[in-house]
Symmetry: C2
Subunit: 456 residues, 2 copies
């Protein structure tokens, strides 16, 4: 593996330059105006894979943005690794909180600062460069397939269908993904669980037009006040979600497993300090790590209604809106949960308003067993680079497509993440440490070596 | 009075043209960008008063926009009427709901459609034209003073101070204002009570930056969820406001007066149909007319926070904001109420958030006795034009400066409103019936005649 290490070192600057080219494309999948940027980013990935040494790479249309697929088959009998990543990124607002232009990658304090620096341009690109490294140093021991999509931040619309239609082409032994984080640069970890997701947009309509709050206020229900009440009523004083049936399918985690999880380092004071809150919140009876790892949430992601401009306008508004999401845990069916909320919200709406609930994207939770060959290979790879066995952790995040891959392709995914909590993904000033980027590339080359050996 | 009626008829089109010139100036006081328009509108008013026959008219600077003051003194012994109006208007958003450009007055279906058509350019202008009519037909029996300000929609900042500094100049027997409405074109009414107003902007901060709702959700309080709960908790199930001390100073209206008020026509089905709600809301133990006339409110005028753009972005936001107003009733002190809410909101905020409360503008409630000479003169004036005695009504709206006038100048105001409920003031598609505009001018000329006679 010395060859690979040397190659990475010699090509450091070029690797970064190439990553920056990808980052500069503002490929925000949730904003229709960026449609052209999606194609540019896909094209960039295709060229990257081809130049790295793939036998072929091409675009596949889906119902949403195209998937970039590429492959290199070294030996039909060798194990096949299917690399998954995404070229789309989150929106950048609130833009005023960015210290640098979000699509002009900047190196400062040993980190790359930009939207997508980590999620998932930085992390995804490590696979392209690890692949290039192994091809160029003639150390590639597995077949490699790349599947890089453009809709992950939107819940991967169209990808499940595309996978189902291309099952043969996507045949592999394992899916490898870098789109998660590790505990700290000194404490590597592998994400073995992901939460699922349900997402809704609700609209509450009171009167059919904005009214004068003096002439009508007091006699006509205010849709913002009503929405506030409805949101409040969805969670009780103990932090339990009150939607009937919400917890019915939850696979409760055993006390034994909870004890094991509790061994992962967690400094509550440092955690609070980092986000500047005096107290943490959370469902009664669980620890903060459990709140994010194994319990459901009910979070309003956005709310708007009435007058939000400068100054003091009095108005009794016609409408109020909210975007609401729930993180789900293993065995909860996101489609069922989406319908449960919709039915409940419609049912509890008082007669003085009308409500509409739109179910947006969602996804199932996921669990990766820690005794499969790919997990073992990943453990060894981290150990080689970080000199420490990685800790298996349950993450609170969601990558809805991961459980879909299991359903459709019958493949488990190993989530070799190199992000850090401080990377501020989805937030202003997203960043990714250079050290993690280069260590990640090296760790991935080790994975291939160990995986090929274990699979022999 | 036939002369006056004839003059109004002959000059109808010119009166409208001149009003339209005023309406075309987008004098939105709450938006700093419109500062120049405020001066234009003030200039327009000054010219209007001068041309109508005033002895003088000029600008007076205040801490906010200038006041236009003009006067015509026909006889130091004659009674003096101080006309109050405002040249500023409300913002126009949501702009997409307007069927015509808000600052391009359009006549359709017998109405003027535009921002300010009623509130208060249309209604204010009636006084300029009634004054012109009386001067030109040599029937003006009183001294007249005009005080037209540019900040009413912002709570008249600077006007109280200006009044205090100009008490001598503003000496009068009564203040006359057209900035309210009447029950229907066939049922004239005079507003004898106005609610007060308190207005706040609140900010709830959770974590110091937007967080990934998967990685942190469940362990970190979401400021939107918290704001929703805090808003909800301010009003109980019976519609009573829960802020300690909120009702302490409320002057309860006697059962006898409530019975009299109940005689005013109110068609609940028509009311609900007009605003398309299935049920009305309201504080337990009171009727809809009482909810708007004699009871306090707690209405969220605007709310915003988190992701409000296109698509489904998952985020645990750092901040949530709301603009909140309370309509107040006689004897509640708006300054005291503003502080009560601020202290309570800060006190009940859970430790996992930080809150800020900004007190914006407010005003005291007001009551006009129905046995003073000016009220009697107003009654006769309506009767002359509308052939029916006007009903005294308590309005739910607020004109905070009216109670301030009483405090500082020691003058009562008579609120001769000609607006209709369907005028959609403060809302998209504001309008004002032509018939009300011209009848209003005529009614005002009758007021002067009767007032001079009663005051002899």
């Amino acid at each position: 593996m010395e060859q690979a290490k040397k190659y990475i070192k010699e090509n450091k600057d070029r690797f970064l330059d190439e990553l920056f080219g990808l980052i500069r494309i503002p490929s925000i999948s949730s904003i229709a105006d960026h449609k052209k940027d999606m194609l540019k980013a896909a094209e960039y990935w295709k060229e990257t894979i081809l130049k790295a040494g793939a036998d072929k790479a091409e675009f596949f249309p889906t119902d949403f943005n195209p998937v970039v697929y590429g492959e290199k088959i070294i030996d039909p009998k060798a194990p096949t690794v299917l690399v998954y990543g995404h070229y789309d990124v989150m929106p950048v607002d609130p833009i005023e909180l960015w210290k640098i232009p979000p699509f002009e990658p900047t190196i400062k304090d040993g980190k790359i600062w930009a939207r997508g620096a980590d999620d998932d341009k930085g992390q995804g690109f490590m696979h392209a460069k690890a692949f290039e490294t192994m091809v160029q140093t003639k150390t590639l021991p597995c077949n490699v397939k790349f599947m890089i999509e453009g809709g992950e931040e939107m819940g991967s619309p169209g990808l499940a269908k595309w996978c189902a239609e291309n099952k043969e082409m996507l045949k592999a032994d394992i899916i490898l993904v870098s789109d998660t984080s590790m505990i700290a640069p000194t404490i590597p970890s592998i994400t073995t669980g992901l939460r699922g997701l349900a997402y809704w947009e609700v609209e509450v309509t009171g009167p059919n037009k904005d009214l004068h709050s003096g002439l009508f206020g007091g006699a006509v229900a205010n849709p913002i006040n009503v929405l506030a009440k409805m949101i409040n009523d969805m969670v009780d004083e103990d932090g339990h979600i009150t939607i009937p049936g919400f917890y019915d399918d939850v696979l409760e985690v055993s006390l034994e497993e909870r004890k094991k999880m509790a061994e992962a380092p967690f400094n509550v004071e440092a955690y609070k300090k980092a986000i500047d809150v005096e107290e943490l919140y959370g469902e009664k009876g669980y620890t903060p790590s459990e709140h994010t790892g194994i319990r459901c949430t009910f979070d309003v992601c956005g709310i708007w209604g009435g007058y939000t401009g400068e100054g003091a306008k009095t108005v009794l508004p016609s409408k109020a809106h909210a975007k609401i999401s729930s993180r789900l845990v293993p065995n909860q069916n996101n489609e069922k949960i989406m319908q449960l909320f919709k039915a409940h919200f419609e049912k509890v709406a008082p007669k003085y308003v009308k409500v509409k609930v739109e179910c947006l994207h969602g996804g199932q939770a996921y669990v990766c067993p820690i005794d499969i060959p790919a997990y073992k290979a990943a453990e060894k790879a981290y150990q080689a680079v970080y000199n420490r066995m990685p800790v298996p952790v349950r993450s609170g995040g969601s990558i809805p497509i991961i459980s879909t891959f299991e359903d459709i392709l019958g493949l488990k995914s190993v989530l070799m993440g190199f992000g850090l909590e401080s990377d501020a993904i989805h937030s202003p000033n997203e960043n990714f440490p250079l050290e993690q980027f280069f260590n990640g590339i090296e760790t991935i080359t080790h994975f291939y070596k160990h995986y090929a050996e274990i699979m022999k």
